[in-house]
Symmetry: C3
Subunit: 140 residues, 3 copies
């Protein structure tokens, strides 16, 4: 955790740079200070079939769900949400400037008692970050 997962209408392919958006969401997550590099996962789910609003072929949507571990304060969750939504609207500004696009974002908590994980990436990334912090450490 955290998990960023967005569903989008397939007509955004070619109009939206998914890699850039995934990267921006990743960078934003890190910039909040709440999440470790090795823990952040961002992905897109393409929806080939959809119906958006009045059904014009130009109509498109993107819905982002962020799932985070339980236990952060309401204030922290709101701050994370604001940072993410600002990044999202900035990245999707061109789409939002035309009357055919609807953007939504929500945060859900994952119950700690019903959450399991095994992350083989953490040790590698933590070691690299620690090495980068030493006086003669390499940069990442």
């Amino acid at each position: 955790m955290p998990h960023f997962s967005y569903e989008y209408s397939a007509n955004l392919d070619g109009r939206l740079d998914h890699d850039a958006l995934c990267e921006r969401l990743f960078d934003t997550a890190i910039s909040t200070g709440f999440f470790e590099v090795g823990a952040v996962r961002v992905r897109a789910v393409r929806c080939e079939h959809y119906r958006v609003a009045d059904g014009l072929p130009e109509n498109a949507f993107l819905h982002l769900m962020l799932r985070i571990g339980q236990g952060r304060s309401e204030q922290d969750r709101a701050a994370i949400g604001e940072a993410v939504f600002n990044a999202l609207t900035a990245q999707l500004n061109d789409l939002l400037s035309e009357p055919y696009f609807a953007l939504t974002f929500e945060i859900c908590e994952i119950e700690s008692a019903y959450s399991w994980k095994k992350n083989a990436i953490h040790p590698r990334v933590r070691a690299a970050l620690a090495a980068a912090d030493t006086p003669n450490g390499e940069t990442l």
Copy 2:
């Protein structure tokens, strides 16, 4: 919001008209009187790999999740659910008549405090609907 999102086994492609189902769910949402045209988004998520029940190749599933904003009464949510499920079973009647199909539907609420949105479609659709209501307005 609302968001209708359904996952389905890929073996339904060719046996299920996704555009017709998406449209029917859209129409049903509007007919309940609880949702604005510009707010409704319906989509399908295709699942290429799956295992359903006893694993016969004909076995198929569709699971619809409806995510709506917080604040409606239990009674209203139940009424929305009944309307949607009736539409769903009517539309999928042929599939349900054979012993290889399992259909499920659930409604979840999106917490208002952790929900953000920017909808560029609303102003256009609201203006069109308002114009259609004037004595000499065009029809939509």
Copy 3:
């Protein structure tokens, strides 16, 4: 219900046998004794675009969500979770042995009051299971 649905980074295709994983999750669900054969649905959602941790091209993720009906005790849910996570880590052992893979799993409950279903598979599978239990019944 239950619903097993996992999202995965597309670079796992070719390195992960989805059919074997879906089958193992199915078998595990049955082995817990909490679920009927005709009720279990497992599926995979492929994510073509993603960003995982430090962004190495080898980095991959799998996130499994299990959605079950409301009403089981905390202890039963924990037991189900342990069984499923053990099966998951055993099946994905090769991926977990390299420092590029992150695995997560969560259980969510579906609120009974906002859940609808119609399962055409149940009568067929229940009849077959009952027949198999008779002295001269066929095996499944």
